[in-house]
């Protein structure tokens, strides 16, 4: 109905305030996509459901909970804009968590006097392990030509299995307190460290996407790989970097979460692959590659945080939360298709 109305805007004069409000909403929808509406809707619903929702303490809390997903979603976006995706982000978090915890404990046991060195060493080893996963993905996708779906699905299983094998399925506890005190609960100039680290990473990805040639190249490889190659872009190198950066960001996320929970766990990133893809898709990142904007993805990840936080406060059980999350993902995709159709019909 609205399509028919809108495709002949001149045939009917606008009737009153309602019609013009609809027109404004439609234009906003076409320009911004579905995310602002969903975010606004979620904020309204949860404010009504729980009076604790819209408090400054809860909002800071919400942001602190969202940083892990924001980081992974940034990485996921880099893979998605090249036309692929990365299902192994959760595995990267698990490997990073387990390896950094084991390394940290081993180093701390050998040199009990140099705890900070142990923490630093553990972090480096953990991130390196995470990057190793990205390297394998990159080699498989960019150089051997395995489809991203199969490659990252396989690596996801391998990595998860290895993480469980390394720990025997038992969480690694007894980490140096300094680690959690800083990366889990510390703050710099009043800003919680996880938020500061995430802000720095978001800024970094923003710079890559808008201020470095690499950003354009990532989009070009996803938008039309052949055209990119014909334009002299090393598409394999670009794909490789996408998966490396994705795993790097997931590794940082895994490290921060390890500090937060104070144990190295193989189960750390169980649902993060689905959630990060959902955050990106809700934020308008095309699954066909070639388009994606950093601020939208941050908002998309925060939106998922809002929904989870709000449902927790409204005491919706975690089983039902899964139902809601899946439904929201599909609604977002359907709305996005509607938007494409509307803008296409508007152009004719």
């Amino acid at each position: 109905m609205s399509t028919a109305l809108s495709s002949h805007p001149t045939s009917r004069p606008p009737k009153g305030a309602l019609a013009s409000a609809t027109a404004v909403l439609r234009r906003l929808f076409l320009q911004l996509g579905v995310l602002p509406f969903m975010l606004l809707g979620a904020l309204l619903v949860f404010t009504c459901l729980s009076d604790q929702f819209l408090t400054s303490q809860n909002l800071v809390n919400l942001l602190r909970q969202s940083v892990y997903l924001i980081l992974v979603s940034m990485g996921q976006m880099l893979a998605l804009v090249t036309g692929g995706f990365d299902l192994s982000v959760g595995t990267v978090m698990a490997i990073t968590s387990v390896v950094s915890a084991l390394a940290m404990n081993a180093l701390a046991a050998s040199w009990p006097d140099a705890l900070w060195l142990a923490v630093l060493g553990g972090c480096l080893v953990g991130v390196a392990a995470g990057l190793g996963v990205g390297l394998i993905n990159g080699v498989g996708v960019a150089f051997i030509g395995v489809s991203p779906f199969i490659m990252t699905l396989g690596v996801q299983s391998i990595g998860f299995g290895l993480a469980l094998f390394l720990t025997g399925g038992v969480p690694v506890s007894g980490l140096p307190a300094a680690f959690s005190d800083l990366f889990g609960f510390g703050s710099v100039l009043g800003v919680p460290v996880p938020i500061a680290v995430t802000a720095a990473c978001v800024l970094g990805v923003l710079i890559v996407m808008t201020r470095l040639p690499l950003g354009t190249h990532l989009l070009a490889v996803g938008g039309n790989a052949k055209a990119a190659a014909l334009s002299g872009i090393e598409t394999r190198r670009v794909l490789m970097l996408a998966y490396l950066l994705c795993s790097g960001l997931s590794a940082i996320s895994g490290l921060l979460l390890t500090a937060r929970v104070e144990t190295g766990e193989a189960n750390l990133g169980g649902t993060v692959a689905l959630e990060s893809i959902a955050a990106c898709v809700i934020a308008g990142v095309s699954l066909r590659g070639g388009s994606g904007r950093v601020p939208s993805v941050v908002l998309g990840a925060i939106f998922i945080g809002v929904v989870q936080n709000g449902m927790n406060l409204a005491s919706v059980g975690s089983y039902l939360q899964m139902v809601v999350l899946g439904a929201l993902l599909i609604v977002a995709v359907v709305a996005d298709q509607l938007r494409h159709r509307l803008s296409a019909s508007g152009r004719l």
């Binding site: 808008t210 201020r211 470095l212 040639p213 950003g215 354009t216 190249h217 989009l219 070009a220 996803g222 938008g223 039309n224 052949k226 055209a227 990119a228 190659a229 014909l230 334009s231 002299g232 872009i233 095309s286 590659g289 070639g290 388009s291 152009r347 004719l348």
Partner: protein, 505 residues
């Protein structure tokens, strides 16, 4: 002449390209002088694309040599060719639809300072490039929002980036209007005057007459000859290209118009057709001509129920059938041959036999209790294969492994398993060899003379002109005019096409 002393700008010496089982280009000797427009002329599959892809560095030669100013060069990549000043504008768009015009124009060569992207410089550079060519395109627009013609202009602008001494244009006017094409020719003239050598692929005779200096004719991967453009004409070129006289390729089809089979009144569709009316009678071949994007394919897509109809009536054998779905059309006796056999026509992994049986599965071949009648299927498809002259040993091979010509025969075969009153053939001979073309044209002749109605939709103008008894010319989604009998010719068709496009603007 001085050309005899100075080596040519670009030349190839017995250049070959072999693929497993196919020789795409065989012993090619070609030369391009500075400041000339050299047209490559040949059918699809004659080796034109192979030659230019090797010259552009996109495809390494199997043997032979490419020389620039007489010196052998190795063009290992498009980038390397660009460094030597060879630039190609391919027919397939090499633009990234999700990026802006400015980003596309600098892709792979972004203006940077200390590794940082200079966004202002990026836009200014695009502005300069477009203004220099006289193209009125917003550098900030997304490429996906541009029309095909605008995309073509961006493509050309991109091809001219940097120092260019050899410019390769592969059917650059295929999607341009007459006025845009004239602008392109002015540009070509300017480049020529500044000493750029231009390799130009086109099928349009008028265009070739207007801009060509020399013409090299290719057939079956070999060079037939190189001619001075001033010393030849269209008929001679077509004979050289196909290796046969025109009368040998196109059969004479008897014209015995009977009762109307299809009547279309004021048809408009959501895919861009506006108020089209036409009649197709038994015993005649009706052509539908027009350039890419003029709506000729879209018209029959709408009639056949693939795209929604927004206004107008369709009558088939006297009965109203507006908005019928493909399933119903098949039952009523319309056979539709889609233009892109790989995307819409064939299941590439299935055998020829299975492909031809596909439209029969839910009707003729459905036996008692829903069981498939396999024996009947084999019989019907074998008979169809005989009609389209498909060799029996191809019946059980996966269609994807067959040559383009044989694939097209299978596609035709899908329509031969039962009788139809109307055959709609959209681009019936795209990418097939001359032998297959002649066979398919003879099939069209048989169908028509047996009393069926045939519609030929084609971008290949000679094909439409020589097969049809009547021709409708489409332009901008409308039927611009109708030609009959002796009036059918290249010039009147192009006049109709461009006439309406000029009056519009």
């Amino acid at each position: 002449m001085s050309a005899a002393q100075t080596p040519p700008l670009l030349s190839t010496v017995s250049l070959c390209k072999r693929y497993p089982g196919v020789v795409a280009l065989d012993g090619m000797d070609f030369e391009l002088r500075a400041g000339e427009v050299h047209v490559l002329f040949g059918e699809n599959g004659a080796g034109k694309s192979t030659l230019i892809s090797m010259l552009a560095g996109a495809n390494p030669p199997s043997s032979g040599e490419i020389r620039l100013h007489g010196q052998p060069v190795r063009l290992g990549s498009v980038h390397e060719a660009r460094r030597h000043g060879i630039s190609a504008v391919f027919q397939e768009f090499s633009l990234v639809p999700t990026l802006s015009v400015a980003q596309n124009l600098s892709l792979g060569d972004e203006p940077c300072r200390a590794g940082w992207l200079q966004t202002v410089a990026l836009r200014e550079r695009a502005r300069r490039m477009l203004d220099g060519l006289g193209f009125d395109i917003n550098p900030d627009a997304l490429v996906s929002d541009l029309t095909r013609a605008e995309q073509q202009m961006v493509e050309i602008a991109k091809g001219l980036r940097g120092e260019v001494s050899v410019l390769i244009l592969d059917e650059p006017t295929a999607s341009l209007t007459d006025r845009e094409a004239q602008r392109l020719f002015e540009l070509v003239a300017r480049l020529k005057a500044s000493g750029v050598g231009i390799i130009y692929i086109s099928h349009r005779m008028q265009e070739i007459e207007q801009i060509a200096d020399r013409i090299t004719v290719l057939r079956d991967g070999r060079k037939i000859t190189t001619l001075q453009a001033a010393q030849t004409d269209a008929d001679a070129l077509i004979e050289l290209m196909s290796g046969r006289a025109i009368e040998q390729i196109y059969p004479h089809i008897a014209h015995q118009p009977g009762e109307p089979v299809l009547e279309v009144q004021g048809l408009s569709s959501t895919n861009g057709v506006r108020g089209a009316s036409l009649v197709v009678r038994r015993g005649e071949v009706v052509g539908l001509a027009g350039l890419v994007g003029c709506g000729k394919s879209e018209l029959f897509r709408a009639i056949y129920g693939l795209d929604p109809i927004s206004a107008g009536q369709v009558r088939f054998l006297g009965r109203p059938l507006t908005g019928a779905r493909p399933r119903q059309w098949l039952r009523e006796g319309l056979f539709y041959l889609p233009p892109d056999r790989k995307a819409e026509g064939l299941v590439l992994g299935f055998s020829s036999q299975a492909n031809m049986a596909l439209p029969l599965l839910s009707t003729v071949l459905r036996g008692r209790g829903g069981w498939l009648r396999r024996r009947l299927g084999r019989h019907l498809t074998a008979e169809a294969a005989r009609q389209v002259e498909l060799a029996p040993h191809n019946l059980d091979k996966p269609v994807g492994l067959l040559s383009g010509g044989n694939q097209q025969k299978v596609l035709f075969g899908k329509g031969m398993t039962r009788e139809a009153a109307l055959y709609v053939l959209d681009e019936p001979t795209v990418g097939v060899d001359v032998g297959t073309r002649t066979a398919l044209y003879q099939l069209v002749q048989r169908l028509c003379e047996q009393g069926a109605a045939v519609v030929v939709i084609s971008s290949d103008l000679p094909e439409v002109l020589h097969l049809s008894h009547r021709v409708y010319v489409m332009s901008h989604g409308e039927i611009a005019g109708e030609l009959q009998g002796e009036a059918i010719g290249e010039k009147p068709v192009l006049n109709l096409f461009f006439g309406s496009s000029e009056s519009r603007s």
